[in-house]
Point group: C2
Chain length 148, copies 2
DNA sequence: TAGCTCTTGCCAATCGATTGCAGCAACCAC
DNA sequence: GTGGTTGCTGCAATCGATTGGCAAGAGCTA
């Protein structure tokens, strides 16, 4: 994905912040840029490390506060993985994660892919599952072949 | 479930500990009793609070160390829920959890119930999912009816 | 520009979880 | 039993992740 479209996306998000009464700051811009650039999922610490290459004085607490603001506005989601780690990603890029325990690769899975699961839970258990991103752990295709 | 069968189960687990070279102690007995009594899932803090009613001096660190021992022996599983909390339960009672965000009720779901999901991931993505207990969040049947 | 208020950097506090250590207790051998 | 070895435990310190307080600084409006 070309760089300028990322920039556009960052600007769009900044505009949404401003529209909701927040201020346009360098710190927020930098944090959002990292989230957009990674495209997938990042930890708060990943963001801090990355941002501090350009803004060494930017504190982790600012990262957390920005993430909280973005979460309140529904711009990013926080996901707790099944291995205990916590990651963030853009809400409009909602997806499940297939995490390989051996090589660490993370494959994305569209939320819609588990539509059958939603229906099953609703019909059999009356349970309306939230479309919350899941972090599923196991063996990816290549590691599975390599181990067999 | 009658109390004496819980006692039996606690004794069985203690026997397994002893058989693997561990010592038979009151602390471990008490921690195991809580896990068995709850039948479902408990947090480390739940266990500590419960155990300390009988053994006020028993420390959380002992709870964690006991849980770690039980985990090494494959007697209990640790599960990270999608809301970030961590719970433990007996391995022979492995199951998914349907957690209601409104009333807090937790419904159990047999691991086998998601067999289709496993197959789907394997066939479509080549991903071999571990049968890891999931904590799914949403609305339970009664809260869903009440809100409609 | 003045001035209000939100943000931020810095730092301490918190929270869940873990670890080092010294004393105690379980188990084994006699 | 009794003594000795070694594992367990309580306590306090620690660690990583996250949050809160506060004063200085920066963004926005008039």
């Amino acid at each position: 994905m070309p760089e300028h479209s990322h920039r556009d996306q960052v600007d769009q998000i900044m505009d949404r912040l401003v529209a909701s009464g927040k201020r346009r700051t360098m710190s927020r811009q930098a944090v959002i840029k990292v989230i957009v650039d990674y495209h997938g999922h990042v930890s708060a610490d990943d963001i801090a490390t990355q941002v501090q290459k350009d803004f060494p004085s930017l504190d982790v607490s600012t990262v957390y506060r920005t993430l909280e603001t973005l979460r309140e506005l529904g711009i990013v989601d926080r996901v707790y993985f099944a291995d205990g780690s916590t990651v963030y990603h853009l809400s409009d890029h909602k997806h499940h994660h297939l995490c390989c325990e051996r090589c660490g690769a993370v494959q994305e899975l569209p939320i819609s892919a588990l539509g059958n699961l939603e229906r099953f839970l609703l019909e059999e258990y009356g349970f309306q599952n939230h479309q919350q991103p899941l972090g599923l752990f196991g063996l990816c295709a290549s590691c599975r072949q390599a181990s067999s």
